[in-house]
Symmetry: D2
Subunit: 249 residues, 4 copies
Amino acid sequence: MMSDKIRVTIWNEFVHEKNKDEVRKLYPNGMHKAIADGLGSKYEIKLASLDMPEHGLTETVLNETDVLIWWGHTAHGKVEDAIVDRVHAKILDGMGLIVLHSGHFSKIFKKLMGTKCDLHWRVSEPAGEKERIWVIEPYHPICKGLPEYFELPNEEMYGERFDIPEPDKTLFISWFEGGEVFRSGLTYSRGMGKIFYFRPGHETFPSFYNKNVLQVIDNAIEWACFSGTRDTMKVSHTKVALEKINTGL
Amino acid sequence: MMSDKIRVTIWNEFVHEKNKDEVRKLYPNGMHKAIADGLGSKYEIKLASLDMPEHGLTETVLNETDVLIWWGHTAHGKVEDAIVDRVHAKILDGMGLIVLHSGHFSKIFKKLMGTKCDLHWRVSEPAGEKERIWVIEPYHPICKGLPEYFELPNEEMYGERFDIPEPDKTLFISWFEGGEVFRSGLTYSRGMGKIFYFRPGHETFPSFYNKNVLQVIDNAIEWACFSGTRDTMKVSHTKVALEKINTGL
Amino acid sequence: MMSDKIRVTIWNEFVHEKNKDEVRKLYPNGMHKAIADGLGSKYEIKLASLDMPEHGLTETVLNETDVLIWWGHTAHGKVEDAIVDRVHAKILDGMGLIVLHSGHFSKIFKKLMGTKCDLHWRVSEPAGEKERIWVIEPYHPICKGLPEYFELPNEEMYGERFDIPEPDKTLFISWFEGGEVFRSGLTYSRGMGKIFYFRPGHETFPSFYNKNVLQVIDNAIEWACFSGTRDTMKVSHTKVALEKINTGL
Amino acid sequence: MMSDKIRVTIWNEFVHEKNKDEVRKLYPNGMHKAIADGLGSKYEIKLASLDMPEHGLTETVLNETDVLIWWGHTAHGKVEDAIVDRVHAKILDGMGLIVLHSGHFSKIFKKLMGTKCDLHWRVSEPAGEKERIWVIEPYHPICKGLPEYFELPNEEMYGERFDIPEPDKTLFISWFEGGEVFRSGLTYSRGMGKIFYFRPGHETFPSFYNKNVLQVIDNAIEWACFSGTRDTMKVSHTKVALEKINTGL
């Protein structure tokens, strides 16, 4: 019997949690597990990480995934290109993608954007500073249930210019105590897939326990889940040529 | 006990159906009634027209409307400005709007767009020609259940340039037998409200009985229904000033 | 003999400079004159204000204007609707428009946007706070010659949500000392006209003497000046119908 | 002495002109040479092709190129990845790019777009059919000097859905005799670079001798040439961290 639940796979490189004490204390089973717990039983959730065979992103897993969540940072370069290509193909075919924080520099995000995806950060290990996230387009389904703004008392700063293509919608803009701003909630579509970039959270801060952060991820899963039609593209992508309809011309 | 159904009000100037035989034959109870019948029992539907008190768009009716559908043509000028202002305010507060065909020249659409909303048409009473509507963004929820393209064997031509602001998404582009093209499915947001413009159907053709046209309207109702948060804007629109958060600066 | 210079008309309600000492001291001949002086001899500049006949925006003046700059605040309601309609028509016909600061609430800007154009500000007379303006799209011609960010040590805060339609491009985002962010450089097109909204400067601060602010206005004039073709629209706007091209069908 | 002229490099795979008689007759020195001749002496033009060392796109050539034009079709796979990466880097650093016709499937365009860039075409060798290109945004500088629409009496059909990201602006939409439509003039920005996709012309048709096609390419060169500021990005791309500005917090 099939569940009607949206099927979510949360991918985490899962490295910092193993080799940094402060991160392990905060996320003993990994950030992916913390997100899964925060989302509760609403979705059918799978966890995947770099150290699993095929990084946990086998054909089977992806075929059973409606929305993929991605967190990476220190090990972007260790993600195999063949797996990135597989994920890319699946997104173009309609799988939703939610990219979190340092995932901006992941191979999959850069491949989808076509740009460097660079941004500003502070060189020193982030001591943490206040981030105030303003909701710019409150009518959007990803903003459901949010207040006018919400704060994360300690986060790593990301600053503009964020080197990305023009987003479809800029849902959030962050204000940082140190003097920077950042477009921190961005929607895109690529092929049949819907993509959401969300700026928090750095591995040394408890952002994935924050109820507003979890609310955004929850909303984004529903938004990113395919809800159009694929029939159209089956024809288009097999390149079947049309006959001229007005053959009498 | 409240219904959970989306509440739709279909507004039609309802003039051609009374003073043109060929239109009355096609839509004996008005195009609004034909659309309502085509949508079936999925929504809670009200009908409204120009000849009703306050054009059928009283405060009470609008307060009980999630999505408003608008068809007008020959009587745009007879719609009272006060009613247009009321509808405009309600849209900015989150009511969805679906504008059909010649509604492109309605006061409410022009007020929302800020442009002339002009386009090309043929001077002679349209004899009808083939319209082929191509689906440009099949992943979009308004395109759910549609084929790659669908045809209306007889429609009035509308041609570019359509003098409108850049849409959020161009979902459909029409091909006309006579040599024109038209962006025929367009999404916008204004304030808290979501807006969809859809090009068919002229009053002398049976487009509102076409299953693909009805599918688009059905999808658009679900899409246009408010699904974000209004809390944010309550604060914003009452202009309550924020205190400086870092008063120590 | 005609000059090749772009013809700029700077409109200022010119009220605060007359009835507030601190503003008169800062801008003794009005903000419009300060902007004109700052731009130098590069453009052919006319000044216009509320107290002139037809607010200084006669048919003749507008016919000789390539780009109109607009500053208003306390007297938005005193601008006559007939003049607003005239300016609106001229913009749709290709005149560029640059709206400054509190001009966000002017009749002309709201008419072009179709929304409330509301935003956050502090209730108390602004004491001034630091504004840091980040350049988000440096490749854009309006950003020519700007540093990565620039600061105005004292400005009035404007905060999101700014209730506007999705801009074509968001060129600047402001960071405010007090905890807010604002999309402070926005491009739009309406009809044949190009529109740029730029957030500074409040009448009690010397922002219109700031070299970066003047650089932005200078760049925006060049950008907003009509550079396409109007021939197309002459046909389109006179609604001349096309003949079917394939009459044999 | 340096010229003030914009420096244009026209790249053509230059294969069909050598191995197909009908193409050689039409473009005896290659389509790149025909375009160069059509543009006249306004620009400083270099020609480059697949068979040259490094495909004619050496570091030196690219460093002396403001705008690169790209035509490819049968030999996309033969363009070396290292050269594609070099061109990609140069575009992100501000070189303009104009992609023509079948260049939609080139490695460089797909890398910039992040999608498949697929579209419809007819399976049989194109016999040619009428293309009518409608100007959708006449105010745009790329549309300068164009009529309301222009026709190419014989072209290869390209049909939607064109699998690309949402463009910044859709300038042209093509109508094809056979029943298809196509977004045939599209602007993008990626990094510091401006990109224009233009749909004509197939190698077996004389589209690159058409004055309107040449006018569009001419306009697009001026538009795509870098006109913003790179200073910003120098800082951003070297990832120099900013200090917190309010260190007293």
